[in-house]
């Protein structure tokens, strides 16, 4: 995602993944391949794809290797489990008469280099038990934590980031 316009960007190839996703979404939503549906879909996808030609899509930097796909499945599974745990944890907090919160914003670091990997990490953190990404600056993430266990960068990183980073590292690097 450098600021220099590359030949790749000029040729419009960067918008292909986003375009494909948008068009697939549109066709699936309409459950039809009639020429009216397709022409509207293609026009709008091209427009959006062009507007966000420098933007990201989940496929932009995904590595196309078997290990990467396996990690993708692992990521989804880990994520769903964490989402359920996160809700049970929240239920326990909200239903306790004394509301056991100990909130704070901690700083954690990610080893991920790719913007898409970092974005997915931030999203995953937001949906895991008691954590919410507040700010993302380069390799640093500022995370709001309902029950702060440690304000130390390394300890908090191990607790919040490591679980997902394991998978995302393989998928995006």
């Amino acid at each position: 995602m450098g600021s220099v316009t590359t030949l790749h960007e000029l040729s419009g190839l960067t918008m292909v993944p986003l375009l494909a996703i948008l068009l697939l979404f549109w066709v699936a939503l309409n459950a039809s391949l009639s020429w009216q549906v397709l022409s509207v879909g293609i026009t709008v996808s091209l427009l959006i794809g062009w507007l966000f030609r420098r933007g990201l899509s989940p496929l932009t930097e995904l590595r196309a290797t078997p290990a990467s796909y396996r990690a993708g499945l692992g990521f989804v599974w880990h994520f769903l489990r964490e989402l359920v745990r996160s809700n049970l944890n929240l239920a326990r907090v909200v239903l306790s008469p004394d509301l056991p919160v100990n909130p704070g914003i901690v700083k954690v670091r990610t080893r991920l280099q790719s913007p898409m990997g970092r974005l997915l990490l931030a999203n995953a953190i937001t949906l895991t038990p008691g954590t919410l990404t507040v700010e993302l600056q380069d390799e640093w993430l500022y995370v709001h934590w309902v029950q702060v266990e440690s304000a130390d960068i390394d300890a908090a990183t191990a607790r919040i980031v490591a679980g997902f980073e394991r998978y995302l590292e393989v998928m995006y690097g």
């Binding site: 809700n87 239920a91 919410l132 990404t133 702060v148």
Partner: protein, 113 residues
């Protein structure tokens, strides 16, 4: 027989999803400040909506594809909107609960913790 079972399972998922949404609502009322409220709202609406959509999928299998797409959309947009709200809240310096133990972001940007 199988249809009845699917109906039952679907209804159960709808119920569990609604319970999580209710708990999220309770969280919005009980949590002490905006950041904790966003936490309560985001997690419960995500899982609650996904469970509700799955329940509807079992009751109306024809809608499965559309429900799946709605689910994906929720999964990507829900956390993002929560993060943007939280960031905006922090930037304009909304009140944090006195219970707050630490605020590294305020320390690093030079605001009062």
């Amino acid at each position: 027989m199988i249809a009845a079972l699917l109906d039952l399972l679907g209804a159960l998922l709808l119920l569990v999803g609604s319970v999580f949404m209710l708990l999220g609502g309770l969280g919005l009322v009980r949590m002490p400040d905006v950041f904790n409220r966003i936490q309560a709202g985001t997690k419960t609406t995500t899982l609650g909506t996904l469970l509700t959509l799955s329940g509807v999928g079992l009751l109306q299998p024809d809608w499965a594809l559309k429900l799946l797409l709605i689910g994906l959309f929720i999964l990507f947009t829900n956390p993002l909107s929560a993060q943007v709200l939280a960031r905006a809240a922090h930037r304009i310096g909304l009140r944090k609960t006195p219970l707050t133990r630490v605020d590294r972001l305020a320390e690093d940007t030079g605001e009062d913790a």
